[in-house]
Symmetry: C2
Subunit: 367 residues, 2 copies
């Protein structure tokens, strides 16, 4: 029951979200961008960042946490760099604009980087990194988030799930597209265990004393109330499996997003009951043609990615995947047969539609 | 016994290594640079990359794997980029030169990146990332290595331990300096377990079938002979603890080093009994002043790093450290009381000294 799905044509789902955002005061252009990024997550098979979050965006826009069409402000700009204050706007539209500016700068400058501060949830980091590919560039995107992660040997949250994305183009193979949080898991995963009343595996999170957290409910409460405890960095508990490396990566993302943009970082980024944190993003593009012929680069990427894809699987496994391959395979399929939404998600967005007077998109099939 | 240590003045140890390299045909300048980077590893408390490796460098120079003073060749250069062919030279001298060129370029261009191909072991990646700090820049350094890592769901080595380093300056605090391999552990760690005849912990490595490897000896043999098996990426086995993230990071490093420089990558980088792999490096620098006043940046970094350092430790732990803090604390101490070498390492370098007619440096104290 809980996993019943419906499928909706991608453009119908985008249209629906766009109309909702417009209804809440967002301009047509920005609403279209925000919808495209949101639905891309569902299309790529990352429902945690898809239309299941629509209600949060709606609440954000209603409460003034996200300001519809807040004018973004360029705080600093050089041929190599860009710092933008989003002034509380939705994350996706300002991020797409920033990434496009970075790509243009990298065309002239060879490489360029930019920060966006005072922003909100921008969806999947990989969306922005991927934008660089058509320009024969390597793309980079990161964001900090509300502090949910506990340092190695610590017991208090000091950094976010801080995802980083990296994209590099291939030719016949789909692009390499890494998009990863720097914590072992995200809060959403722990919430699933809470709903199922399942014990947390060792290595995902610690409790308020800094010991492995077993009980999802109390861990989430204590983390939310800043009593102590939180998610572990990639690599898990202590140093034996490299937890200090994931911790370092999370701080690296916080430096490039929060510190480099002059905004909040670490514990200073937090959600409350009423609103979510204002966050900062980091974007970059590196022009491959400054190093070698992009066609040769793409050909070598094909070789590398094909070798990985065809490398022998472990006993009991079917295939080895490189980062981005599962997402692009899903997208191809979902563009054809419709984007899958959990029935619960579908009912949720239809309830929003009803409230806003927007007709819910018709499902293609119910399985 | 095995852990008996001697301490040697840092400059005496550097002088000794320099003389050895000169004796083997390396120019005074290059020998001095190679020694400085090698000894820095011991001074920072990373003996796996220090003078314990001197015999490998000596063997490399003797066998022609490392060519003393091979002329390096600039294959491509723009204001934003650099591609160098090291032509089989020692890794450190060409890497220091490349990083200095990148930093100079970033001064004019805002950011700059470069690759070195056809190179050898360059020591600790963090050394090069750290070079950017005095110029008020963020520093980046990576290298690929011989393939020792197994992809998520795979059973054959497809990438190296591929370390990445990232440095950002602070003011009163020591700099943030992340230097991490992208596999859970390095081969050296497994070799220690082999010597101690200890069972490998789950999550470090897989055997030739792709299942968790218990026996260090057979895992190392099978990996070396490419029968199957190898080290797991950061995040360990499968996807439950984020192994696919570490795998993605390792491939990212291979793309920026091997593919971007037009050199070997993946399985194409391998050691044989006689010689070690020719590898590629990647270096980058981003000028902070293009984003904000570097003094403000450094002040915010101080706040961030101090908050981390002072955050409450888990029960049973003494302190939370940020990346780079333990290394810089050790360096300060070792500069004062001498660089520690395992007695076995000391005896090893003295044997090399005897062979090359170079007097071994006098220990300060034997503990």
């Amino acid at each position: 029951m809980e996993h019943e799905e419906v499928r909706i044509q991608r453009h119908s789902l985008e249209d629906f979200c766009r109309k909702i955002f417009q209804q809440l005061g967002v301009s047509e252009e920005n609403a279209a961008t925000a919808s495209e990024v949101l639905v891309a997550a569902d299309a790529w098979g990352i429902p945690s960042h898809g239309t299941g979050r629509l209600w949060r965006y709606v609440n954000g826009l209603k409460s003034g946490q996200m300001l519809p069409d807040a004018p973004f402000e360029i705080l600093r700009e050089t041929p190599a760099s860009l710092v933008i204050n989003a002034n509380g706007a939705m994350g996706a539209p300002v991020s797409v604009r920033a990434m496009n500016m970075i790509i243009d700068k990298a065309k002239t400058n060879g490489s360029a980087f930019g920060c966006v501060r005072g922003s909100n949830h921008f969806g999947i980091a990989g969306y922005y990194a991927k934008m660089a590919l058509n320009a024969n560039m390597i793309g980079i995107a990161m964001t900090n988030t509300a502090a949910l992660g506990v340092p190695t040997f610590g017991r208090q949250v000091m950094f976010g799930t801080n995802p980083l994305a990296f994209a590099a183009p291939a030719d016949k193979e789909v692009a390499f597209l890494l998009d990863m949080s720097t914590t072992v898991v995200t809060r959403g995963k722990v919430e699933v265990y809470e709903r199922l009343d399942k014990e947390l595996p060792d290595g995902w999170a610690v409790d308020k004393t800094g010991r492995p957290a077993k009980d999802a409910r109390s861990m989430l409460d204590d983390m939310q109330n800043r009593v102590g405890g939180g998610l572990l960095p990639l690599g898990g508990m202590g140093k034996a499996f490299g937890g200090h490396k994931g911790f370092g990566l999370a701080v690296m993302v916080d430096i490039l997003t929060g510190v480099l943009s002059g905004a909040s970082f670490g514990q200073g980024v937090f959600d409350t009951e009423e609103s979510s944190a204002r966050v900062s993003h980091f974007f970059g593009a590196i022009d491959i043609s400054r190093f070698r012929d992009p066609d040769d680069f793409r050909r070598d990427m094909d070789d590398m990615l094909r070798e990985i894809r065809r490398s022998p699987p472990a006993e009991g496994e079917e295939q080895v995947y490189f980062a981005g391959l599962p997402e692009m395979e899903k997208e191809r399929e979902n563009n054809r047969i419709g984007v899958p939404l959990l029935k619960k998600t579908y009912e949720g967005i239809c309830a929003i539609g009803k409230e806003q007077g927007i007709q819910c998109p018709e499902p293609i099939s119910i399985s």
